[in-house]
Structures are given as C-alpha cells and as structure tokens.
C-alpha cells in the first residue's frame, strides 16, 4: 500500500503566467515531450489500425507501410463482429466473456465499497477500545500479496462447492460456475486498501456535525446513511472507479477462480487464450484486445480526475 497525496493543481501553486511559461519552455523540451508521447502512443495506435484491416492484409503486411499504401490497407470492420460473435477461424466469440467482465466487475466494485465504508465509519466514529490497533492491523494487511492467499482460498472454494452439493435440493448447484467465488475473492482482496482510503476520508468529516446528530438522537445507522455516505461521495467515486478497472483488468484472480470456460471467465482470460492459440490471427487478436481495452479507456477519459486520484492511491494493490 501507499498513498501519495495528489494536490489539486490550483490549490498548490498559482499557475505560472502564460508569458513566463512561454519564456521558460524551449522548443527542444516541447519536441522531446512530443517525441516521447508519439513513442508511447504508437503501439496502441498500431493495434487499432491492425484491427481495421482484413485478414489477408493485417496478418501479412506492416500497418505503417499500409498507411502509405492505401490499396493494400484492406479496410474492414468485419474483424470486430467476428471476434465478438465467433466465426470460422475462432469459433468461440468473446461476447460471453465480455458480459462476464461486466457481471464480475460491477458487483466486485460495489461490495467492497459498501463493506469498507461501513468498517471505516465504525473505526472512525464508534469509539471502542482497540479501534486504533484494529485500524493499523487492517492497514498492515496490505503487505500480503494476492499470491499468499490464492491457493488456500481456492481450496476453500472447492470444499464449499462440495459441501453445498451435498445439501438436498442443491445437487445441481455448482458454486464454481457462478460469479460468487470471483466476487468474494475480489471483495476480500480489496478491503485493506478500501478501508484505509475511506477511513482517511471519513475520519476527517467535521466532528461537530457528527456530535450534533448524536445529540439529536440519531442512531449510527441513520448518521451513516444520511450524513456519512453523501459526504464521502468523492472518496467513494474514486475508489469505485479504481476497483472497477482493477477487476476489469485482473487476470490472476480470474485465471485462478474462473478457469477458462465461457461460464464465468472474463475477457482477460479469453484474450490470453486467443494470444496463445491464435497468436498469428493478428486481425482478430487486435480487434479483441481493442474491444477489451475500450471500456477502461472510456472510463479513463471521461472520469480522468477521479481516476487519477484512485489509481495513484491504489496502484500497489494486489
């Protein structure tokens, strides 16, 4: 874990006047920034361009070359429909996996958020002996890497699955073909960071407001719902976005708990399989990858401000 405080730019320093900025910025500096930006963008751009070329062209000729030889570009949108629904080359499309990714990531972002904000409230505003100790213990749990917990947790899941199958009436219920193990694992792994971040925020809410509400006879439950949650929206939003993207992009937890079947596995698992089995079908693997990254990119560009805050504070999770 780590949190780096990201000061908002205006709060920290008066922005340099335009004239000063112009004086300071050299054309070399600008050129260097543009150069690095181009290098950083070219690989993703190449993926996008390749995904728009039909198989005979995309799999055999270079995309930069094709940009200058338009009659060899072979523009098509067919790759996208083929990779999504499945086709002659790859029979299994990514569509069920795409649905799975949403079905996993949305609850796996909501569950830890609610449980963590409740815990953060209790640690901050319900006085009891050992609250500080408990907070630091949870905080310290962030050092435990995912890898430490995977194997025992997977065994527990299998044990539970067998136990449930022995209950009369549940013979056909297979826990491992539901999203429940994935939601649970993501929720558990998210909690230390979520509690830590939300505690930082919730503990700083004005004491007078809380005490006034208590004096007026409001219960902790009422205070939590009517005062804490509305005030904590910025912290909740940035964590929700971070967690959604973390789960969406996760491969390790998904691979461990979901296997590779279209029942529950997310797009990352599908893409890794495609890359392994159909790595030379560039027109399809690039289209698939682009579909999978467009969701986080939309979230990123539309909610950049929240996103940066959440990502920076949580970038060491896992």
């Amino acid at each position: 874990m780590t949190t780096v405080e990201i000061p908002t730019e205006t709060a920290v320093k008066e922005p340099l006047p335009a004239a000063v900025k112009r004086k300071l910025s050299s054309p070399w500096a600008t050129a260097l920034v543009i150069f690095i930006t181009v290098i950083w963008t070219i690989p993703t751009f190449g993926l996008f361009v390749t995904s728009l070329r039909s198989s005979a062209y995309a799999d055999n000729t270079n995309w930069i070359w094709a940009l200058f030889h338009w009659n060899h570009f072979g523009f098509t949108l067919h790759n996208y429909s083929e990779i999504i629904t499945g086709g002659n080359i790859i029979p299994q499309g990514m569509e069920p996996y795409l649905i799975n990714s949403f079905a996993i990531a949305i609850p796996a972002a909501i569950f830890p958020l609610v449980i963590a904000s409740m815990a953060a409230y209790a640690l901050a505003w319900i006085p009891f002996r050992g609250a500080t100790f408990l907070f630091f213990t949870i905080f310290a749990l962030q050092v435990v890497p995912l890898q430490m917990a995977l194997l025992p947790l997977l065994r527990l899941t299998v044990t539970l699955k067998d136990a449930i199958a022995n209950i009369p009436g549940f013979e056909n219920f297979s826990l491992t073909t539901t999203y429940i193990p994935l939601w649970s694992a993501h929720t558990m792994f998210a909690l230390p960071l979520a509690i830590f971040l939300l505690h930082n925020f919730i503990a700083q809410l004005p004491r007078e407001v809380m005490e006034a509400a208590r004096v007026d006879g409001a219960s902790h439950f009422l205070i939590f719902r009517k005062i804490v949650l509305p005030l904590a929206v910025p912290a909740i939003a940035s964590f929700a976005i971070f967690q959604f993207l973390w789960v969406w992009n996760d491969y390790l937890v998904a691979l461990t708990f979901a296997g590779g079947t279209p029942d529950v596995a997310p797009v990352t698992v599908y893409l890794a399989n495609i890359q392994g089995t159909y790595g030379s079908q560039l027109h399809l693997s690039t289209a698939g990858a682009f579909v999978a990254i467009i969701v986080p990119l939309i979230v990123f560009f539309s909610l950049q401000r929240f996103f940066v805050r959440g990502l920076v504070s949580g970038s060491v999770k896992g």
Binding site: P7, L123, P145, M148, F307
Partner: protein, 343 residues
C-alpha cells in the same frame, strides 16, 4: 446475435446479487436500529465492522498463515518436509535464474519508469498544453497487462526477414530498422544484410526479458509522471525564483533545488513501481509463459501451484514474494508518515 440473448441474463444475476446485498444490509440496519441503550452501540459496532473483519480473516489472514504452513509440506500437503521447499527454491539452477530475473525487473523497471516520468514531469511543468501528452502517456495505466501484452506482441512480431519485401515485416521493431537500412542502402548502393532476430527468443544479455520489461515501463511511466508532476507543481514558486535569482539554471536548478524538494515523492514512486515489478505475472505469462529464460517469481509461483500442483513449492515461492514485498511497503509507509509529519 443469438448468443447475446442467451448470455445477457447473466447481468441480471449480478444485478440481483447487488440488490440482495443491499437488502441484507438495510435489513441488518433496521433490525439493529431497533435496539436501545448501551446495547445499540455494541450492535452497531457488530453490524458495521463484523462483515469486513470476517472477510479479511477468511480471505487474507487465514490463507496467508495457511500458505506459510503449506510451504513446509510436500507437493500434496500431506507430508512435512521441513525447509526442503526453500532449499529447492535457492538450490535449483532454474530457480536461481528466476530469482536473478526478478531482481533484474526490480531494478530496471523502476529506474526507467521513474527516470522518464521525472523528465516528463519537469518538461510538462513548463509546457502550455500539457494535458494532451499527459493523458496519452498515462493512458497505458488503464489498459490491462493482457491487453498490453497483445499490443506489444504486435510490436515484437517476427517474420522471416527479406529485404526485397520489407512490408512483410508485421512487427515494427523489425520493420522500422529494416526500412531505414534499406533507405540508406539505396542511397549508398548496397543491400543491407542485418537480419532482425525473433526478438522474444533472444536470451543474450537477457534481451527478451528486457523487451518484456519495456511493457511494464510503458505502463508505469505514466503513473510516475502524474505523481511527480503534482510534486513538481507543489514546489513553491518562491523557492524556484530565489534559486533563479541566485543564478541557478537548467541542470543545477534541477539537481540542487527541484529533486531535493520532491525527494520523498520520488522514493515513494520508485518503491511503488518496485512492488509492481516484483509481482509481475500477466506480462510474462501471456508473452512467453516463462519460457526462453524469462521466468519470474510470481509466474513460477502460479505454475507450481496451479499447473504442476506442487503446493509446497508454490507456497514457498509465495512466502518469498511476501518477504521481499514487506520491507518495500514498510519503507513506503514510514516515508509517507515522516513526510506528512513535516508538512
């Protein structure tokens, strides 16, 4: 789109789960809210804190202890083997190579990501339209490691080189140098004979590992840039102006004023990227599967535990990861607390 219709209800399952979850919580709130007196506080404490504590115990505390326990047992966890699994980790030549690779990741990725990130942060501070390059360089941070591996797999893609048909080089890492050599050759009247290798197989100088590291550097540089950029902006303008009045410019201003002022953030960024490098898994798994001398600890741990079912050895590797990560995180925490105390 018949599949879409059959798969779509899965989303309702998720929606239903969320609704049930909220209903349960509201029900608990309602029932516990009926209590009065001192008991109501105890009940509130239980309702608010118990779910998190139970999940943390079941999901992290008990499994972590169990993993340490399993690391002293054999492949099927039935036989106590003492420290044999740890002897295996450090005694086996392949594993020593894996550890050496991991250490290489641990040094190279943070150095380059933080270095380039710092240069960008300083340059961007003086640019007028900084948000566009900033967004584009930060963008890889939103992409999954699997997606990034496909993006870079395309860059490194290998085709038998042939200077008569340079356009057949799909991967730009081979295409660009070949195209440039060809152009030079055309001017000076020679046919180039340099053949680009199959990049991902080249083990000399750990070249293939380095190419995998490029992917993580590509992702982490944006993170370093954004955090360091905020730190650079928080250096008080008076300090910079005073230094400039005293004649400090360029390199001296940078090395004597800016860097010392943002030292704390710099260290946190560095160690944060170190932690990410230590746990790198997806990139190696998708790009090479750990073959061709590119294996790292996290991927070896996965292979031992879930592919070869050597639970003891897999657990020992997980414990080693834990031991390596802990001082980094502890250092970060101490550093941050000190920094907050001095502000």
């Amino acid at each position: 789109m018949s599949t879409l219709i059959s798969d779509f209800p899965k989303l309702f399952f998720s929606l239903g789960a969320v609704l049930v979850f909220f209903a349960l919580i509201l029900l608990a709130f309602f029932v516990a809210g009926l209590a009065r007196g001192w008991f109501s506080t105890v009940l509130a404490w239980i309702v608010f804190l118990l779910p998190a504590l139970v999940l943390l115990c079941v999901g992290l505390v008990i499994p972590a202890i169990r993993t340490i326990w399993l690391s002293f047992y054999g492949p099927d966890s039935s036989q106590f083997v003492g420290i044999d699994n740890y002897k295996w980790v450090f005694g086996n030549a392949d594993n020593r190579h894996t550890i050496a690779n991991t250490l290489l990741w641990l040094v190279i990725v943070p150095v380059f990501s933080t270095g380039v990130g710092l240069v960008l942060a300083l340059l961007l501070d003086r640019m007028r339209r900084e948000s566009i390059p900033k967004s584009l360089i930060f963008m890889p941070m939103a992409i999954s490691f699997v997606g990034a591996s496909i993006i870079w797999g395309l860059v490194y893609y290998y085709v038998q080189p042939d200077y008569k048909h340079v356009e057949l080089q799909v991967g730009i890492l081979s295409f660009i140098p070949m195209r440039i050599l060809l152009a030079i050759g055309n001017v000076f009247g020679f046919t180039p004979n340099w053949q680009p290798p199959n990049w991902i197989l080249v083990q000399n100088f750990n070249l293939n590992s380095l190419l995998l590291m490029v992917i993580l550097i590509w992702i982490q540089t944006g993170f370093a840039m954004v955090v360091l950029s905020a730190a650079v902006k928080s250096v008080p303008a008076e300090v910079v102006e005073a230094a400039e009045l005293d004649g400090a410019t360029g390199w001296r201003l940078f090395s004597r004023v800016t860097v010392p002022m943002i030292r704390g953030t710099l260290i946190v960024v560095f160690t944060t990227i170190m932690i990410a490098s230590l746990k790198v898994f997806d990139v190696v798994r998708v790009m090479t599967g750990g073959n061709f001398g590119t294996q790292v600890l996290a991927n070896e741990m996965y292979s031992q535990s879930f592919v070869q079912f050597n639970y003891g050895q897999g657990s020992a590797l997980a414990v080693i990861l834990f031991v390596l990560v802990t001082p980094l995180i502890a250092y970060n925490v101490v550093q941050l607390r000190r920094e907050r105390a001095t502000r």
